[in-house]
Amino acid sequence: MRNILHDSPDISTDTILTYNVYLKDVTVVFDGFRALNINEFGVYHNELRVVIGPNGAGKTTLCDVISGKTRVTTGRVWFNKTDVTRLPDVEIARLGVGRKFQTPTVFDSLSVYENMELALPGRRNVWRNLWGRETPEQRDRIHAILECVHLIDDLQTQARYLSHGQRQWLEISMLIVAEPKLLLVDEPAAGLTDKETELTAELLLELKGTHTIIVIEHDMDFVRRLNTRVTVLNEGSVLADGTLDEVQRDENVIEAYLGR
């Protein structure tokens, strides 16, 4: 845990403590291309925030930077009072950042139950995993979560035989069962039918208020359903911030989305 006061005199400790995730002066430059250019971005504890923007706006890069997949070129990233700017992805994950990727990344050869089992919080070393078994409480938790996403009947099915929607839900379930302090959910409604999208929205709304969640989405109906604060990114910077209605009436946003 880096000492906040000594490192950045221009940012008050209060700022770091109120936010669950806080980015300051973050830029990510790939070979001259400026993917991310954020002056300030913060998500409060137990807030559900939606990030929208056209393709290439830097939404996934934002998630990458928070979860440690990409290094920032300049700037600082704080998660839960810790400076995670230079930490590797494994350490950040162990601090409690959970991530769902744009394309469902689950373990194809393992069954649904086995996928969930690997996502359980617990010891991550080889020795412990040679002997350990999940506790009955953990098993019940897995069943409960899978019940919500209608995967309870497919416990032993290999993940490769699931439909796209089921894979999305499996990955979200794996995220939930890991009990993270921050959930980064990248396009949860991508490729889902209307009914499935409805269920996904319900799932996130159930978590709202008790978990810190950042959702990236394109589906505006889905975003409206979530009924929460929206941040618009465009060309790597924050363009607008507010409720969905405010943001949709913002002139800059209209120009960015329609005026190209």
């Binding site: 494994v90 089992e117 690997l118 996502a119 991550r124 080889v126 995993n129 040679l130 002997w131 890991a178």
Partner: protein
């Protein structure tokens, strides 16, 4: 509980589609096959040897090839389950092999040393070394040899694995690095200055080990026992959560990083276990052969070991054992009976395996099981398994010298030379089974095409 049942059945995560409750008759089939195989190897073959039906040297050859099965299990763990193609397994095989060979070259291990050569291994005398080097001396003790044979490869694998895998080297690059390690080790050990016999290797072991029946049978049974133990160890590992993590490493390593795991630790673990199993295979190999040399650790030897697992089938453990036996014996028969064209036949076999059985022979067994589970008759299931059955019978006959004299007669095939009837029969049976399989597929396709063409009745 559901998981425990699946684990108890020994099914790897790579196979089952629906449910973990294997139907009763499939479970019965599996159990009967396992018991028959165990009885055959542990009881029937020694009995036949003692009764004089199977000659001693054949048991010796069988014991030698069974050592490869232990190595193959390790390769299946690191390649079939973890997805890392290691091309230096022969190096670990020889680490164990050379350790045991060193012990066997010394008088305390029964080595053939002469007073005129100062009672040290002969090659040393011819290299102008008149006294046993310091690093050789501890190998006089068998316990030390066994310990060194296990810990040195484990150490090498852990150290190398740590440096290679810590930097997230994956896929082809990992294979190339291991190949470089194998090549470098081969160059090193071949040098006379290493005092390990140079390119000639170590020899002059106790002749009784490959010639007297008690030694041969004893080593054969020891090798068998080690195969069973190695199999149980691998089954435990793959059935544990660590085993599932190895499969996860193979499937989507990136996902593991973001779930808080350090995949390299698991990869190094699998690599070390594979190294130890390879070394154990090597330690049992040395007493059953008369010489061990750097030829046993070159890149070609490593690739041969990997082919064993590829043909048998990855990700199923017993596939590795099956592949080891099949490939070793087929290669042995081909090299002795078709001296001019055996590389083509062997190559053709490998290519056809890749094209027709990409998942190895285990896929055939899966098909048999699906048919039995689906309720088709035993006869039809047997027809599906005919290739496997035919090859198994062929190899057993070859291994135990039980090929009837009629099939050993040769017929002249133009352009090839003398080909024995047993090969023609085997090829005929395999082609017949393949034709039967094609006919079945064609029937199904026709039925499907007819159904598609017929308008559905509302």
């Amino acid at each position: 509980m559901a998981n425990a049942a699946a684990a108890a059945q020994g099914t790897a995560p790579t196979d089952q589609i629906v449910g973990d409750a294997t139907p009763a008759h499939v479970a019965l089939l599996r159990r009967s096959v396992v018991i028959s195989v165990l009885l055959l190897f542990f009881v029937a073959i020694p009995a036949m040897n003692l009764a004089g039906i199977v000659p001693d040297y054949k048991v010796n050859v069988l014991g030698k090839y069974l050592c490869f099965a232990i190595v193959a299990l390790g390769i299946d763990l690191i390649w079939g389950y973890t997805g890392l193609l290691s091309l230096c397994q022969a190096l670990f095989f020889c680490a164990g092999g050379y350790a045991m060979a060193m012990h066997l070259s010394l008088p305390q291990g029964g080595g053939d040393v002469r007073p005129e050569y100062h009672n040290i291994p002969q090659f040393m005398f011819f290299n102008s070394v008149h006294e046993l080097p310091a690093f050789w001396r501890p190998f006089a003790s068998l316990p030390f040899t066994l310990a060194a044979g296990i810990f040195v490869p484990a150490l090498i694998a852990t150290v190398f694995g740590f440096f290679i895998l810590r930097s997230r080297v994956r896929g082809v690059y990992f294979s190339i690095v291991t190949q470089a390690v194998a090549w470098g080790a081969w160059l090193l050990i071949s040098r006379n200055e290493m005092l390990l016999g140079g390119t000639n290797g170590l020899t002059n072991f106790n002749k009784a080990m490959t010639q007297s029946r008690p030694w041969i049978l004893g080593l054969y049974l020891t090798t068998l026992t080690m195969i069973v133990l190695a199999y149980l160890l691998c089954r435990y590992i793959t059935g544990s959560r660590a085993g599932r993590l190895l499969v996860a490493v193979r499937d989507k390593e990136t996902r593991l990083y973001f779930s808080g795991y350090k995949p390299y630790a698991f990869k190094v673990f699998a690599f070390a276990i594979a190294a130890v199993l390879g070394a154990i295979g090597g330690m049992l190999y040395s007493p059953q052969v008369t010489v061990i040399s750097p030829q046993n650790m070159n890149v070609e030897a490593s690739i041969d070991l990997v082919v064993l697992v590829a043909v048998g089938g990855r990700g199923r453990l017993w596939g590795a054992i099956l592949g080891a036996i099949i490939v070793s014996f087929v290669k042995a028969s081909l090299t002795s009976d078709l001296p001019t064209i055996w590389p083509f036949v062997a190559g053709g076999m490998y290519v056809s395996v890749v094209l027709l059985f990409p998942d190895g022979f285990v896929r055939l067994w899966d098909r048999i099981e699906t048919e039995v589970a689906g309720g088709t008759g035993w006869l039809k299931a047997a027809m599906t398994g005919l290739p496997l059955l035919a090859i198994a019978v062929f190899i057993l006959a070859e291994a135990l010298d039980l090929v009837p004299a009629a099939l050993r007669k040769a017929v002249r095939v133009p352009g090839v030379g003398a080909v024995q009837w047993k090969y023609l029969l085997l090829v005929a049976v395999l082609l017949g089974a393949w034709a039967y399989h094609l006919a079945g597929s064609w029937q199904r396709w026709r039925r499907g095409a007819v159904a598609a063409a017929t308008p559905a009745i509302a």
